[in-house]
């Protein structure tokens, strides 16, 4: 009985390490294809459209809403201490440092990451990937690489747009509705946020999140079980694993970056 438990533990460990190794090999293969022609620019543009442009609406809308709520909550708390003038700093810092990159990554995972995994998994199920191999086209080069790269490119831009819309939402609520002085709001925000500590950090975070979501979604789809259940498992797995990984990495990056 005890032996069986240890056996299970050993099996799990071996599976985990095998997965890590496969992911590393997969990432290596994506990287090699990325730095070598054919570049597949047309496919990349198409994927940036699917991931970036089509996520724009949800990202901007969520950004404005999150900013507005932050403005409202921050004002209620700050005005208790007579510090409503720091509203811009509170909204700006929390958005740029944490909420922007993390929420954008979670939204994009749900909106585009799941779709990416489902698409690749169903291509696998319907043997389209094998069809590509028959024509001696590497599916990693033709299908996976454009998707992963598009995720890497789109994420920082969506993040920056999310933050801009959220700053606007916070401004509307704080200045137009609650009566904080507009100049004070902008000045306290611009004084609090620095390039080295905050803006560079947010770009680094969104780049890393983009790479993570791109790799997790494509790997899950690529290694799915070729059945209908496999496609749905790949989609669910992508959202769950990517979300947890984003939150974990967010802590690690913040700790290493040193706030």
């Amino acid at each position: 009985m005890r032996l069986a438990a240890i056996e299970t533990l050993g099996f799990r460990t071996v599976t985990f390490v095998t997965h890590l190794g496969r992911i590393a090999a997969f990432v290596g293969s994506i990287f090699v294809h990325s730095v070598r022609p054919p570049w597949r620019v047309r496919r990349l543009v198409g994927e940036v459209f699917d991931i970036g442009v089509l996520s724009l609406a949800i990202v901007c809308l969520s950004g404005a809403t999150v900013g507005a709520v932050l403005g409202l909550q921050g004002y209620t708390t700050l005005s208790r201490f007579g510090a409503a003038n720091s509203l811009g700093a509170v909204v700006g810092l929390s958005l740029v440092r944490e909420l922007g990159p993390v929420l954008t990554a979670l939204l994009v995972t749900g909106r585009a990451g799941s779709a990416m995994a489902a698409e690749i998994a169903s291509m696998l199920t319907t043997e389209q990937l094998d069809g590509l191999r028959m024509m001696s086209i590497d599916p990693v080069d033709f299908v996976v690489k454009p998707k992963a790269l598009a995720m890497l490119i789109s994420m920082p831009m969506l993040n920056a747009l999310f933050i801009c819309f959220a700053l606007f939402g916070g401004y509307v609520v704080g200045v137009k509705l609650l009566g904080v002085d507009g100049g004070t709001y902008i000045t306290s925000m611009e004084n609090a946020i620095t390039w080295e500590d905050d803006v560079a950090g947010t770009l680094l975070k969104s780049f890393i999140f983009g790479a993570l979501v791109g790799v997790i979604a494509t790997y899950r789809g690529y290694t799915a079980t070729p059945t209908s259940a496999g496609v749905s498992a790949a989609t669910t797995g992508t959202v769950v694993v990517a979300s947890v990984t984003i939150l974990l990495f967010d802590y690690v990056i913040t700790a290493l970056w040193g706030v």
Partner: protein, 152 residues
């Protein structure tokens, strides 16, 4: 999928908007806090700068005319502050610099008080007269220490 040219245009617009947003965050929000003209570099040495930080404003009569660029330690272990101010200002050579606090607990900034000399400061020159930051802890410490000695 949409026609290729339209799609390319939309992707191009998206990328341009994304880059503009990154640029806005980097330059406007994360950039320098003083937006006026700069170029006149002056140095000032203080015994104590308190909580002065880089990018803190430099003011004359309450008007922001520049900002703190660097803060370092000079060989005699005093704080050496570089400030960047509007070059159109004609600051007399006997201008003095003091570190002030906005409000009771606000941020610290440098206040310049122009003197009366005819000659003006040029870039790279040193502001000779400085007034250090007022440290409340030090003041209280001094007060407690002094009154303690007297009572004995």
């Amino acid at each position: 999928m949409q026609p290729s040219a339209t799609r390319d245009l939309i992707v191009g617009l998206f990328v341009a908007a994304g880059l503009a947003a990154i640029g806005y965050l980097s330059i406007q929000v994360g950039g320098l806090s003083y937006k006026g003209p700069g170029g006149l570099r002056l140095y000032a040495t203080f015994d104590e700068i308190g909580g002065l930080k880089t990018r803190a404003p430099v003011e004359i009569a309450g008007v922001t005319v520049g900002q703190v660029v660097t803060i370092g330690l000079d060989p005699s272990m005093r704080a050496r502050v570089t400030i960047d101010v509007d070059p159109s200002l004609k600051l007399p050579t006997d201008t003095s610099a003091g570190i002030r606090t906005s409000g009771l607990l606000g941020d610290q900034f440098i206040e310049l008080e122009p003197g009366a000399e005819d000659q003006t400061l040029t870039s790279g020159e040193e502001i000779a007269m400085t007034e250090s930051a007022l440290s409340i802890e030090r003041l209280i410490g001094k007060f407690v220490h002094d009154s303690g000695v007297e009572s004995k």
